[in-house]
Symmetry: C2
Subunit: 369 residues, 2 copies
């Protein structure tokens, strides 16, 4: 079954659900004031200073005293006030992630890597969404006011420009699309070798016998044209190495399947097009859909390769040949970098070798010709 446009078949049949409120609308149970170290001290018959020693596992506390304090902590349900700790000690152990997206696969996976690393190191993690409407400097200021470190997921122009605006004296690190050539000194940052990965993917298509490879770009955070990121460069390099003049790249209008669908419709009209590299898997999904609507079969008529290896890439039909990225690893490494700036006695481990890999599935194959 084929339809002209995807949207044609979307129709709201029925609106049946609703949100309900649970719980009492009254103020709720009395917010009993939390116990402080003085309360604990009184209960244990010691000075509050001794309580401080116990909760910080300071060695110089008599065993019996410690027991008594711990018992008091238990019965009073004492939890050390993190705010007071931060103010008094000057250590914050928190990082705020600045990102313009949390749902796209690359962003979400990077965030997850950051979260795991932060949790493992005892850091709390904040998230602040960057939007074109909000004032960038205000957003950065308020994030920096929390005292902890700043982490920028700089895959897009908005985030990249946020990174540029972080004041010099605010501890900050980033995951970026490509190394920066502008700023001096550059911010500590990690990146994957997108350029080489795109080159390899393109070379793979050429080896399969395709005369040329078209490219549907993600908008890039670097370079002067929105379509000329490292992935585009790798694609271009592979074609040029084979003596092929690269066609005009397409896309660069967004990250989602809709954009891929629109570009795919255009490409499907040209019978000469037999191989398409896409800047991410969502774009690839849209391209596949457009080719399907145009009656061109994949991979028999056209080969498609995506980027990122999102979870669904393996289960769509045809399953998607794509480039796997280690976003979580990038998140982990970036956190280590930031931690190195935050803690004087912490040295980030040697950079993890994070590979990208071309995952061969069904959507790319040899040309018929």
């Amino acid at each position: 079954m084929t339809v002209d446009t995807v949207a044609d078949h979307n129709r709201d049949m029925d609106v049946t659900g609703h949100t309900s409120l649970g719980g009492p609308s009254d103020p709720g149970p009395e917010p009993r004031k939390a116990a402080s170290i003085r309360d604990v001290a009184q209960a244990a018959g010691v000075s509050y200073q001794t309580v401080s020693r116990v909760i910080n596992s300071h060695p110089n506390v008599r065993e019996e005293t410690r027991k008594r304090v711990e018992a008091a902590i238990e019965t009073l349900g004492f939890r050390r006030n993190a705010t007071a700790f931060a103010l008094a000690s000057g250590v914050t152990r928190s990082v705020t992630v600045l990102t313009s997206n949390t749902t796209l696969y690359g962003y979400a996976a990077t965030l997850q890597g950051l979260e795991e690393a932060a949790r493992g190191a005892g850091y709390s993690l904040g998230v602040k969404l960057l939007t074109p409407e909000d004032d960038l400097d205000r957003t950065i200021s308020s994030a920096a006011a929390d005292g902890g470190g700043l982490m920028v997921i700089g895959f897009d122009r908005l985030a990249a420009s946020a990174l540029d605006r972080v004041p010099e004296n605010v501890p900050c690190a980033a995951v970026v699309e490509a190394p920066s050539h502008g700023r001096t000194p550059p911010r500590p940052a990690v990146w994957a070798d997108d350029r080489e990965a795109a080159r390899a993917a393109t070379a793979h298509l050429l080896e399969l016998g395709h005369r040329t490879v078209h490219y549907v770009a993600i908008p890039t955070s670097v370079g002067t044209r929105r379509s000329e990121g490292p992935r585009a460069q790798g694609w271009r390099a592979a074609l040029e190495a084979a003596g092929i003049t690269p066609p005009e790249p397409r896309g660069a209008k967004g990250w989602d399947a809709r954009v891929g669908y629109d570009e795919g419709r255009e490409l499907a009209r040209d019978p000469e097009v037999t191989a398409i590299l896409c800047g991410n898997d969502d774009l690839a999904l849209g391209v596949l859909r457009a080719l399907h609507h145009a009656g061109r079969s994949v991979p028999a008529d056209v080969s498609v390769i995506g980027f990122d290896d999102a979870p669904h890439a393996e289960f769509v039909t045809p399953s998607l040949t794509t480039v796997r990225m280690d976003f979580q690893g990038l998140g982990r490494d970036a956190f280590a970098l930031l931690r190195g700036r935050l803690e004087n006695d912490y040295r980030p481990p040697a950079p993890t070798f994070v590979g990208t890999a071309l995952i061969l599935r069904e959507s790319a194959g040899p040309t018929d010709a």
Copy 2:
């Protein structure tokens, strides 16, 4: 082209990329100490108390004094220390989200709704991932120690049990799968009417002429059996209303396409199976893939309906008939509830009417028979 198993075609061709480190490995620029209100006061020739009035837009400040202070703030690059503010004022304006997942569509979209609402209200948002390994009570304690509110995305058992363990005196709200029948008083919470949505989706399949509808379940956070959540109940109710004895539900072993694929293979073996409702779109994707591998075409041989309307549902082939959920709305409403507990003078608005809607696409159709 059809392959026996999806995984067969996965093969790492090449590992080409790597992570690099940018930036100096030396400590970086001297972390010049931030200006305090006393520094500003001295620069402006006023007391620090007056500075406090200015940054809090207190009315009783002479215009000229205000100007002078504002100028000093500007030149010194003063930013109010959020930690000290929180400690002194007792207001925290922060919420920590407890969730066991950040990448699945439902979770990510809810998180986005929470983030938008929090940002709009001037709250900062923290995220803490719940894992089966970590001690739940410790995780909750450390989240609560930050002083702000707690928000639980309680779609799964782990998160639901975290919600149950939040101490009574910690301000907390939740997005849940279904209203709680256990706890008294119940926590303020919001939910969508999954039961009715599943009932409507199942009824739709019956109206198309299918004799019965099979169900591939998500693991549920409520009920005694892992497959008997509100979505299962709605499915069951629709069948029973039509005088049909429900078959045994399947799945409930996870949320991802892999689980759907495994269950789909089993279902594909039974020629009597012509209609399948899935607990989410990822499961549905796996089921579609399994049916494809078994040579059963969708919707001609088998109809499939998903749940959630994830972004890719519209672009896979066949495009997925599914139930659209307003996760972002749930997040917004839940935040309002929590804010109501946090601020004495804030009354949450009337509950938004958040609809669910059956989105008709290609994957479900009339029976051949």
